[in-house]
């Protein structure tokens, strides 16, 4: 751990030496990046002109409310074992009072809900319980969807079905860039997503929108190297895609992962919670795997008359947090009605959620606009 820290300090010195005159807004689109930035205390260590904005980087946060609701209803069926990544267990859906509003509450009400850390565990659980239906609620970005596709490509056990809520990251960034106000001057592109899909996926940011960008890993040294790159590009009036995670995010990405994804999944228009439908931003099981789609196997029909179906909870600003339009602590609920103990919006639930990350690293009061104010808002 010593070498990266030394490198990180050197990058920090280089960044401090840059002749920044005005505010530069740098967005990251990966919960892992935001977590590393916050855990390392980077914001407080950087010059005040630099704003680091958490953008759409949390798959749990954008998983549609309807999918969470469907998972809860499935979990309450006595014949079903519902498995999901731990983060999904506490995401609340909109339900009438006295009904379980999260998978965790469904579990407390008697549902068989099991947290898992890898898709292989879903197959293992299905194999261990051949007499029961196992439903894998798979929410995630490309990095998590790839192993789900791998599982589907190997052949799924007959009693396992998938409630797939997979999303692609770049279309959300493209949608932001095509909107009236993108809200950022430079982009830190996601490291793991690039490792799977290839860093080239992110070229459009510089090529089509003239925005400096760099792929980063998750240690401070890689993040600061990427930050230095985009700041220099910005100062020099240039824009290209740099790769500061070249050892892992190789050209072309992971061809095996891409092949199994192509073989088993279609790219479809998809709904992002609180944001709406983004074209070609989601994954769905191919037609020949339809019998493994939990939506079909259990004939899940969205209850069109369910109150507040698909909506954000009242007052919750998670959607604008996800889009980087506001900082977590600019939401009126942040730290007041909404805390990790009693989360209202998904961004306060997931370890990848910006609200949860900010709260757990000690940011308390509201309205941070610059790094200085950000620092002042701490404790």
């Amino acid at each position: 751990m010593t070498a990266p820290a030394t490198d990180a300090k050197a990058w920090l010195e280089r960044i401090r030496a840059l002749p920044l005159k005005e505010r530069v807004r740098v967005m990251n689109v990966c919960g892992g990046h935001e977590r590393s930035i916050s855990m390392a205390g980077l914001r407080g260590a950087l010059p005040s002109e630099i704003e680091l904005i958490p953008g759409p980087g949390c798959p749990v946060c954008v998983c549609p409310e309807e999918d969470v609701y469907a998972a809860i209803q499935l979990a309450l069926r006595p014949d079903v074992i519902l498995v999901a990544f731990g983060d999904m267990l506490r995401v609340p859906a909109n339900v009438p009072k006295n009904e379980p509003r999260s998978l965790e509450q469904a579990k407390a009400a008697g549902g068989d809900v099991r947290p898992i850390a890898s898709p292989q565990e879903a197959a293992k659980i299905a194999a261990a319980h051949p007499d029961r239906d196992v439903v894998f609620f798979a929410a995630g970005f490309e990095t998590t969807t790839a192993p789900v596709a791998g599982l589907a490509a190997e052949g799924l056990p007959p009693n396992l079905s998938i409630l797939l809520s997979g999303r692609l990251t770049w279309p959300a960034v493209a949608a932001l860039l095509e909107s009236e106000e993108a809200g950022f001057d430079a982009l830190i592109a996601p490291g793991h997503v690039s490792a799977v899909m290839g860093p080239e996926e992110w070229r459009f940011v510089a090529d089509d929108h003239n925005i400096p960008s760099a792929v980063a890993g998750f240690e401070s040294d890689s993040l600061l190297a990427a930050l230095y790159s985009v700041l220099r590009q910005h100062l020099e009036g240039r824009a290209f895609l740099d790769n500061c995670y070249a050892t892992v995010a190789r050209p072309g990405g992971n061809p095996t992962a891409q092949r199994v994804m192509n073989d088993t999944l279609d790219v479809v228009d998809a709904n992002w919670r609180g944001i709406g439908v983004i074209p070609r931003s989601g994954f769905a099981l191919k037609a020949e795997l339809a019998s493994f789609d939990a939506n079909r196997r259990f004939e899940l029909d969205a209850d069109a008359f369910r109150k507040r179906a698909g909506e954000m909870p009242p007052g919750c600003d998670c959607a604008r947090v996800v889009l980087g339009k506001i900082y977590p602590n600019q939401c009126v609920l942040y730290g007041k009605a909404c805390t990790p103990r009693n989360p209202i919006g998904p961004c306060m639930v997931s370890d990848e959620g910006a609200c949860r990350i900010w709260w757990s690293t000690g940011i308390r009061q509201g309205a941070a606009h610059s790094a200085d104010e950000h620092a002042a808002a701490r404790y």
Binding site: A40, G41, G44, G86, I116, E121, S350, D351, W359
Partner: protein, 336 residues
């Protein structure tokens, strides 16, 4: 016919089976001359110039056996360590065993042997005990509870009230080993790794600090880990605890598992470490002493107490900082 390879309800009925289990499993393997099972209460003789200290703890760890320890060694060391960090030399333990019907007798014997060995190493006698058997499904195989009596020098004062701004925080070795060892032993999340619990008596680390003036306070960072001890100190003193990320010792495999699952090692349990607070001019002496001892090679100075509002602040590797929050719920594995 009764299956003698598993504990049955009859082993808790007060009759022959219970007597046999107590004699053949507990008395014979504990091998403690201070244990007289024919007495209802054990008399103790206490020296008049010492302060008797008493503590109690219950143990419900799952699985019962894990790399580096088991519920038996844990039941001894957990209670011994609470005495040791209070400055008391452990003398006597009582032992309660609540056994679930169906527990393998061989497993019970292994655990009792391990418990006896831990007591021998810690220099503490098991002077009284009780066993109960609960029906299948009513317990996690085996629960243990121990109460410990120790003796402290009347002149040695330790406590939150002695802590001052500028004092130094030290830890006797790497943190988080126990938490990760037990998690890996559960075989959850398809992970495995070469991590052993640090479960051990800290008496040899804690009691010699009596010689050093300026040692203010000690605690063993068990449930909730180092961050929780730091919070207890911050809350009791209204001082800020400033921890230095680069100084806190964490073994590489522990760090790897933490990175994979999104855990913060600062919240993971230790079962054989001491956190001490010492005056600035005494800190080096504590460090030198610890590093000369078998379980103290990894000792480190990890932080300071500063004026503030009772926050726990982590100074990060790159010179930034963040707050370590009070632990809320069990950490869940993260999604990617």
């Amino acid at each position: 016919m009764m299956d003698d390879r598993h504990v049955s309800l009859a082993h808790g009925n007060g009759g022959r089976f219970m007597r046999e289990m107590i004699e053949e499993v507990f008395v014979s393997h504990l091998g403690d001359s201070a244990l007289d099972v024919h007495l209802d209460a054990a008399p103790l003789t206490l020296p008049p110039d010492k302060v008797p200290c008493i503590t109690t703890d219950a143990f419900t760890v799952q699985p019962l056996e894990f790399p580096g320890g088991d519920i038996g060694s844990l039941a001894v060391n957990g209670t011994v360590n609470d005495l040791a960090v209070s400055g008391a030399a452990p003398q006597a333990l009582t032992l309660n065993a609540i056994i679930e019907e169906g527990l393998e007798m061989a497993c019970l014997i292994r655990i009792v042997k391990s418990l006896a060995e831990a007591a021998r190493i810690a220099g503490v006698h098991i002077v009284a005990g009780d066993t109960k058997v609960v029906p299948r499904g009513h317990g996690g195989g085996l629960y243990l509870a121990t109460t410990g009596l120790g003796l402290r020098d009347a002149t040695w004062r330790l406590g939150f009230d002695r802590i001052r701004g500028g004092d130094v925080l030290l830890v006797s070795g790497p943190i988080g080993d126990h938490g990760i060892a037990v998690m890996l032993a559960r075989e959850a999340f398809d992970l495995s790794g070469p991590v052993r619990s640090d479960c051990a008596a800290v008496t040899p680390l804690a009691l010699p600090l009596a010689k050093i003036d300026g040692v203010r306070f000690m605690r063993d960072p068990t449930r909730g880990g180092l961050a929780t001890v730091a919070h207890e100190i911050a809350a009791a003193t209204s001082l800020n605890v400033r921890l230095s990320e680069t100084e806190i010792p964490v073994r590489d495999p522990v760090r790897s598992v933490c990175e994979m699952l999104g855990y913060d090692p600062y919240y993971l349990a230790c079962e054989g470490r001491v956190v001490a607070i010492a005056a600035p001019d005494a800190a080096d002496e504590v460090l030198k002493l610890w590093r000369s001892l078998p379980d103290g090679e990894g000792a480190a100075r990890i932080g300071v107490l500063s004026q503030g509002a009772g926050h726990v602040v982590l100074e990060t590797e790159i010179g930034g900082e963040r707050l370590l929050e009070e632990l809320e719920d069990d950490p869940l594995p993260r999604i990617c």
